[in-house]
Symmetry: C2
């Protein structure tokens, strides 16, 4: 009875005063967690997004349908406004299923599981066949004489270093093979590139992801092999010459009109100070983009949904932004930042959730161009202790790709850091599906983000 | 090159001096994590334990085989001693597959998925049939008149409260239905009890677990229904009278000789101060006891394995203890504590891992009878910051069932707290299998425990 009374009292307080006491804030956060865990709103939306709509590569019909659905869904929240921000996005298509045949000495031929890398060109309908040369790194490629590379298929086979504390560090340490490996190989005369999938698991699912081309060099078909098949290829190479036959029909089409989806609640006290929470709404075309980044988008929608549902009147302006085209262009984030800068907007905090729908461990923080991280974190520590019962804290370093352009006009840039043990088992592969998202873990992320947005809205980032 | 030099230097330091600098300790912990993540030793052992041996209910042949395997495995570590501590354990057997038929009005009969509760008696070969009465709590049962209970099957149907921050709290809030519900119902004249499984998921797998009987009342067949079938039964009851036919042949047999498995490294500086790390080696007879508590046992074995492998000479005596019979008797923990008290042993810390093989979040701490938690945590905070990069901290409150008897002779009692979102999806059900343990999450637990044991060994728990 006593407890019930206090909670009601705290809710009254929240609605009656602009800034609430930390006692009331603690009860409000507890309510947010309870509601997130019992309603599972993010998980319900994610089910629709993944099972009724599916993967959402920029420029695809699915992505257009998803944008329409998200706007319609946000329209029901009772926000002050929901709008679409137009963005021209690249439209890369995978085409027919990739064919990769490994032809070993003696003519033994085995099919390897592979996915073309995003933005990479196709081989043409006849495919290409060439000898394979394996390297572990771009440095090793540099040291090879031209004759060993020209006309060959370069195979980048360095595994992610699982000894790293974070799988994101392990990914960062291996990703150059995918992002710049193909063009580096092409510059030396290679005809195609295959890489070992950037994955923390040893399995049969290849992991795609963007590769960078240049204006000069665009004709380098590039694919990722499953980690199992990368091992097969590497082992076969130990016994002699190996050729690959590769056939892909992927291509980059004309740019397509697409949109960022934006929902907003105007602030009562400081309407010109914006707190942004977002994720990216595009995904790769395999799997369902459930963790990457359906989870972050549903998290961000739930922040505004939950606060409105609790009749919360924010002091600052709150925005949920679902950015388009993070995966293969960052056009959504770029367009958003350009307009924000043009309009002289100010972001108290820009927060991104793009590390999966797992149990959150911390928020990684950096500051905008005109702020000090020490001063900011020191001030915030005064209220961040309210998140201690939830095992959430602020850590140094972080942000997100889509919000990175806001640095000149932002107080803080924050990236949510969930447990990362499983993320790269699924990332960019056909395993990034709803079945690999746990409802309660997803709800923890939504609750943590909502609580953080609430606290920053209440108490700001400086004294 | 520089980094490599420092690591070698730090290892030298570790071997040459009894107490190491915190700089060296930081490097040593980083090495422990790297080795745990890349070697996956706990996961390899857990694969043998779950797939080659299987579930390990006290008194079963499997449990004897597991004990033999664990001793043989620890014998290879190069410890100072490995021994078996004899314990008489209860020997409950499930018998034939449970039969539960729901007979609704009009004679419609549906089979419900159920598991007998541990230690509960069977119905006899003919089974029993009676009308069902649903209650939500023991309090509600108390308020009912005798005539509504006598001769009936009482159905406890209160769900775990998912709004709780920890699923362990949710479990704690619902578990009385299983532990004391049956006997409370029997005391009022009920002929059997069924409960809604204590589960965080809505599915078809019933969750077993121990129920308590008394000397007076032993004849109350008790089962858990899957959460789906509990919903079916409850919905059917809304439309009129329902009878259940229940047939179980479980029974409690004669006690069996079993063992705790203990491995030890003698301390160099303070051999009489013991740091214990352990889990319970018995499991329920469904599933594979992978999370509960194969994970904690493999964690504990890896602590000693890893330290010996790094030529670490502990200052205090380190013990790994695999306790038998936590699930349905606690005889292993009780026998261990009795001997420890008899021998006037002293435990600097007794640490238990019995909350699953998920990513650890914190260590829950309490103190023994003669210590102050404030003073101890304050002292330890001086070195616990070395675990900050690993997102691990000490929290107030915790321990473990098996180590609880050591309170009179312990400085600290500590329970590892992993992420708990998924634990009760699997707990005590046929879903507690290796496939639901993630290798890297399991490795995180082993590394965290090893690091904690190392730090307590180095710096103690008081100044």
């Amino acid at each position: 009875m006593t407890k019930w009374f206090i909670i009601v009292f705290s809710c009254v307080t929240l609605q009656s005063f602009a800034q609430v006491t930390t006692d009331s804030a603690a009860f409000f956060i507890r309510d947010i967690y309870r509601q997130s865990y019992t309603e599972m709103q993010s998980y319900k939306w994610l089910t629709t997004l993944t099972k009724d709509i599916g993967p959402r590569l920029s420029g695809s019909e699915n992505s257009a349908e998803a944008i329409k659905w998200a706007k319609a869904t946000m329209d029901t929240f009772g926000l002050d406004s929901v709008w679409l921000q137009p963005v021209m996005v690249p439209h890369w298509v995978r085409g027919e299923k990739e064919q990769v045949l490994m032809i070993a000495e003696g003519g033994i031929t085995i099919t390897l599981k592979a996915l073309a890398l995003g933005n990479s060109p196709g081989t043409g309908k006849n495919g290409i066949q060439a000898e394979v040369i394996e390297v572990q790194s771009l440095d090793q490629l540099k040291e090879l004489p031209d004759r060993m590379i020209q006309g060959k298929i370069v195979f980048f086979n360095r595994a992610m270093d699982l000894g790293q504390l974070s799988t994101f560090s392990a990914y960062g340490g291996a990703a150059d093979q995918r992002t710049t490996g193909p063009i580096a190989a092409a510059e030396r005369g290679a005809v195609a590139v295959v890489i070992r999938s950037l994955s923390t698991d040893q399995d049969d699912s290849p992991h795609t992801g963007m590769t960078r081309l240049s204006e000069e060099i665009t004709n380098i078909p590039s694919l990722a092999l499953s980690t199992n098949d990368a091992a097969v290829l590497s082992n076969t190479l130990k016994n002699g010459k190996v050729e690959l036959y590769i056939r892909t029909t992927c291509e980059m089409k004309e740019d397509v009109l697409s949109f960022n989806v934006i929902g907003e609640i105007k602030g009562t006290d400081y309407p010109k100070e914006i707190i942004l929470v977002g994720g990216h709404f595009d995904s790769w075309d395999v799997g369902e983009g459930a963790h990457d980044d359906g989870s972050g988008c549903m998290h961000s929608m739930e922040v505004l949904y939950r606060l409105v549902k609790n009749n919360y009147k924010p002091r600052r302006t709150l925005r949920c932004v679902l950015f388009i085209n993070e995966e293969n262009g960052l056009r959504g984030g770029t367009a958003y930042a350009e307009e924000a800068l043009k309009n002289n907007e100010f972001y108290t905090a820009a927060i991104e959730s793009d590390a999966g729908g797992f149990t959150p461990q911390s928020f990684g923080c950096s500051v905008g161009d005109h702020a000090s991280l020490d001063t900011t974190l020191s001030y915030m520590s005064g209220y961040m202790e309210l998140l201690e019962p939830y095992d959430i804290e602020l850590k140094r370093g972080g942000g997100g790709a889509d919000i990175s352009g806001l640095r000149p006009v932002a107080g803080m840039l924050i990236g949510m850091r969930p447990d990362n043990a499983r993320y790269f088992d699924y990332h960019h592969s056909d395993r990034d599906i709803l079945e690999n998202v746990h409802p309660r873990e997803l709800a923890s992320g939504a609750a943590a983000l909502t609580s953080l947005v609430f606290l920053i809205d209440q108490y700001g980032i400086k004294g």
